[in-house]
Subunit: 341 residues, 2 copies
Amino acid sequence: MRDRAPRNSGSTLKMRDIARHAGVSPMTVSRALRQPSAVSEEMRRKVDAAVREFGYLPNRIAGSLSSNRTNVVGLIVPSIRNSLYASMIQAASDGLRANGLHLMIADSGHRLEDEEALVAAFLAQRVCGLILHNTVHSKRVRKLVEASGVPVIETGNLPDDPLDMAVSYSNFEAARAMTLHLARLGYRRIGFVTLPVRDNDRSEERRRGYFAALAELGRPADESLVLEADGGFSEGADALVRLMNAHPDLDAGFFAGEVLAVGALFECQRRGWPVPGRIAIASFDDVDLLRHAVPSVTTLRIPRQEIGKRSAELLVGRLQGAPADRIRLDLGFEIVQRESS
Amino acid sequence: MRDRAPRNSGSTLKMRDIARHAGVSPMTVSRALRQPSAVSEEMRRKVDAAVREFGYLPNRIAGSLSSNRTNVVGLIVPSIRNSLYASMIQAASDGLRANGLHLMIADSGHRLEDEEALVAAFLAQRVCGLILHNTVHSKRVRKLVEASGVPVIETGNLPDDPLDMAVSYSNFEAARAMTLHLARLGYRRIGFVTLPVRDNDRSEERRRGYFAALAELGRPADESLVLEADGGFSEGADALVRLMNAHPDLDAGFFAGEVLAVGALFECQRRGWPVPGRIAIASFDDVDLLRHAVPSVTTLRIPRQEIGKRSAELLVGRLQGAPADRIRLDLGFEIVQRESS
DNA sequence: CGCTTTTCTGGTATCGCTACCAGCCTATAA
DNA sequence: TTATAGGCTGGTAGCGATACCAGAAAAGCG
């Protein structure tokens, strides 16, 4: 059985080929590429020359298997299409890339069972870290994550019982603060439109925050002031109209999603309802659109970018040996008062 | 040297452990997991039971090394933050995931040298396919891609000389068509605002299309009607104002980017310029925002989602053995006439 | 019933790299 | 000079799976 044909007849070069051409051992090539300081100037030169000459690309699959380390982080968001996550992803991507890490991205479509399948798939790929937007997980996810020992960051909310590290803000506090803010501005009857609450801890928390604020204000909790809407412009417009019809005295609408808010704003423009004259509008998340809309829209600034950046930093820290402490980082939020309220 | 300590003392289970517990050979476990039809009912049952009992996750790194195949596709877009790419990415992600493939995403920041580094890094990770938005590449990228033999899809434009497969639309034709459309509607003096052209083949093509249309119309090519602007709302607003100041008779603005267009639209609202009474506005790409804005904005519908879907399909096809034909798939575009023009 | 074919299972040898140890050679100390 | 320590380099043995072949068992066939 000595002379069987090689399994991979491909022409891609291997480390040993480079080693032969450079006149050194494979180990020296490996070292020259990964920690140049560990080899002599001369070796480094020879290796570099051979690598460049043949356009050698080390096989990181083999490297990962051997070293039991990969340089890939898995990221799962509810929806890739939703641009809300884009700035977080961008910041995380930048921070990770600066440290030689890459990002594998997938979306769970707000389905816990999909998140579970993805976590399993990512762990099978032996990712060196995970970033999950969702903070409600299936039992199996918790088990898998724990068993793997891979560092995990949750970013969408501040969970009571984090898997590992959480870098986020409080959806509850944010919604509460905005509701109180609107009340402080003098609005008497504040409607609340949120994304579907089922399987979505963020929506649920925001809803709770809204009601908590009303309670503090001594106002009755009126379920008919709250609507769930899928996140589209039409849904926002529609929700506004339905609220106004049901409550002619509505003087402010708090939309927990910028698309909903802008959809409502456009509807006001169409109907000639002055904003905030007839109704004030407040939104969630500070996207450019809200700043530039006419009128500009009062909103909550969530530090999405900072969340991505800090997530990357914490992950990198762990990979470089930081102690595995449970961390719960609250990056806060900020009310941005603008023309629409 | 027989009794050296094992390198990886970790507790994660290996295939041989599952095999032992199931009372079968590792090969049978491997087969039961990858092609269940190749093993008997009984074996499958035993393996499945052991896998479930211990929560075994196969190590895909090892599998990839051994089989010389990975299930990861690399995707490089100019900017992750830009929501424009989101629907393409989403569609590609869905199509790939349905076939067991995952997506590694990075952004080049419109820099060719970054694209090059990323392509190299992805190939080092031995991705089984690449999707590149950019269609202008460094020489080394072409060489790397060719040497790797990995299937590649370019999606941002229809290149004259595709690396491998191209799934896109013609930026040139799209810009040309919109310019002609505006002329047909009776607009006499059409300004054009585009993203920076440097290192951006899409912008360059759009610009060419605009001028080609003017030439067909027998109108002079006036460079002062063309502005380059970075893609923000303010930049769009600013570009509009500058164009209007320079050309008081400007009656239409074609913005090659939806954020620019909406920024301009907002500026009109602020200044009380009726759209299209004082000036018509046309955009590029059919995002929801344009349909719902007041007035709704005339634009070009680019089949971003379809591009992502077809890209995934072609890639999957190749991986399943389709012949390596050069493909150049033009998915076209569509003019969406709305209130703003 | 013996023989061929098919179906299924298991052993062995990698996949391409890195961890770990051994050994060499030079430098510094005693 | 000999001992001791470092700095570098190379050999060897995996990492945890899969490809490939061999062989046993079951099935088909005349």
